[in-house]
């Protein structure tokens, strides 16, 4: 029974935390943007506007759900569901902690420890494009369609460099298992720098980061929903909770992307220098969990800061960067890494 119950409990907890985080991420984003633009941001619902997200969700639920007359109804409703499912299910393979002992039982803090975890995440993110493309097509609106097409082109272009930039890490770790990748990032370089992949694969990290921005359709790569050109992009024709689902998916995929970055490059749940103190195993587990959470929050904040400080690329610039800069650079990174491994430096 434990075999079935344990994952379900884990899934529920992760889902709950993610959903809460999403709603507060919206709030954080609005607050940060307000401070950047010298405003105050939401402050009416609850103290410091803390209940703003709840109010938003309630509003979305009561909004009228409008489906365009000539839209393909089934696909129109299916598209946001695909987006959300893909965004949340990615978290299944991400290890958010090492091990925790509760009531004498040891639990792995990962929902599914798959031996091709990295690929699973890549597969799921590549599926995210369907939600957007289908929503764009089924709305029967040229702005939506353009947004959908742009997003698929963008995602396919950046997926390549994203995948190749990862291979450097896979070469060093000799495994695609995410828990293994995190475990390898323990220890120190020269005795004081944490052995995180960001220090060993700086170019890979930058390529991966940029590609992630493109994959999550965040500024400066948010052309699929460029308001000035495409009204609302692929979700122009969505309203009510279906629109809410897209919103949810966008932020959820941001969280999973951050968690993925943390897992691959920032040491996952590894909390450096923790072994110099005499903590009990349980406290160490908790510290590692919070180390993971803090890192994820840090990356999320970075996402938000970038959004409000960098202008959007033009479409041809986006394609140029993807194919002519990122892809060759990631290939170069791969070759250099392979060479360094060959001569036993890495």
């Amino acid at each position: 029974m434990n075999l079935i119950l344990e994952p379900i409990v884990k899934i529920l907890i992760v889902l709950f935390i993610n959903l809460t985080l999403v709603s507060y991420l919206v709030l954080i984003e609005r607050k940060v943007s307000a401070y950047i633009q010298n405003r105050i941001g939401p402050n009416r619902v609850g103290p410091w506007g803390l209940l703003q997200s709840v109010a938003d969700v309630v509003k979305l639920f009561f909004k009228e759900d409008i489906v365009p007359k000539d839209a393909n109804k089934f696909i129109h409703s299916l598209a946001p569901v695909i987006s959300v499912v893909v965004a949340f299910s990615t978290f299944a393979v991400i290890p958010f902690g090492n091990k925790i002992t509760l009531y004498g039982n040891e639990y792995n803090l990962v929902i599914a420890d798959v031996n091709v975890g990295v690929l699973v995440i890549l597969a799921l993110t590549s599926l995210g494009v369907y939600g957007i493309t289908l929503s764009g097509w089924s709305s029967n609106n040229k702005y939506s369609l353009l947004g959908g097409l742009r997003s698929s082109a963008q995602m396919i272009s950046y997926e390549l460099s994203m995948g190749i930039s990862l291979i450097g890490i896979l070469l060093m770790t000799q495994s695609m298992r995410l828990t293994q990748i995190v475990a390898e990032q323990g220890g120190y370089i020269f005795g004081f720098i944490p052995n995180w992949n960001i220090f060993l694969q700086p170019i890979g990290f930058i390529i991966f980061l940029v590609s992630t921005f493109a994959e999550t359709n965040r500024l400066p790569f948010d052309l699929p929903e460029a308001e000035e050109e495409l009204v609302g992009g692929y979700h122009t024709e969505y309203s009510g909770m279906k629109f809410g689902l897209f919103f949810l998916a966008e932020y959820a995929s941001m969280i999973t992307a951050s968690a993925f970055i943390v897992t691959l490059f920032l040491g996952g749940w590894q909390a450096p220098f923790i072994e110099y103190f005499n903590f009990s195993p349980f406290v160490i587990s908790l510290l590692q969990l919070s180390a993971f959470a803090i890192k994820v929050l840090f990356v999320l904040l970075f996402f938000i800061l970038i959004r409000w400080t960098i202008p959007r690329f033009r479409y041809d610039q986006l394609m140029n960067i993807g194919w002519k800069v990122m892809l060759p650079l990631s290939l170069l990174n791969l070759i250099v890494t392979a060479f360094l491994i060959l001569i036993n430096i890495l």
Partner: protein
């Protein structure tokens, strides 16, 4: 039925249904979506064979990349009136259907009646065979030659695509 058998048969049924719907459904978008469903079932079947790597790569390549391009093309073609796609039934289609059914019966006869398939137990080493490490190892030793040839195949395909799709005709000097 064991758990494995339940998984296997449900995947088989869904994939068969999806494959049929790819052919039957009139809207090309629906066909494409059913094909994706079919790919997922196939990936599931690979998982039952302990081939996780192939399963995931199958999804990345087929569902994640190729089918997206398919959808792209269908959307850009924008076939408004899908009813026009309906084909008239003539003697050719009847003959085709008859021959297909005959072929199906033949296959059924060969596979099920004449060749009773013995239950093959899963080989103990099959767990290793599906792993990335094993695949990588044999791709670069035993299957190096076909592997390298595939790269030539791909380069031929790329050159071909560029030649056929290039906008301007280049006149010879």
């Amino acid at each position: 039925m064991t758990f494995e058998e339940i998984v296997f048969w449900s995947l088989v049924l869904v994939s068969g249904f999806a494959a049929l719907m790819v052919v039957i459904s009139r809207s090309p978008i629906a066909s494409a979506l059913y094909l994706i469903l079919n790919f997922f079932c196939l990936a599931g079947l690979y998982l039952t064979l302990n081939a996780q790597f192939i399963a995931v790569v199958h999804i990345i390549v087929y569902a994640g990349a190729i089918m997206v391009l398919f959808l792209f093309v269908i959307m850009l073609l924008n076939l408004q009136d899908e009813t026009k796609l309906r084909e008239r039934m003539n003697w050719k289609s009847f003959a085709a259907i008859a021959l297909s059914i005959l072929f199906l019966i033949e296959l059924f006869y060969i596979f099920i009646i004449k060749t009773p398939t013995p239950k093959i137990p899963i080989h103990p080493s099959s767990k290793e065979i599906g792993t990335v490490e094993y695949l990588g190892k044999i791709l670069f030793t035993e299957f190096l030659f076909p592997f390298e040839l595939t790269s030539i195949l791909l380069i031929a395909a790329i050159i071909g695509a560029v030649v056929l799709a290039k906008k301007k005709f280049e006149l010879t000097d």
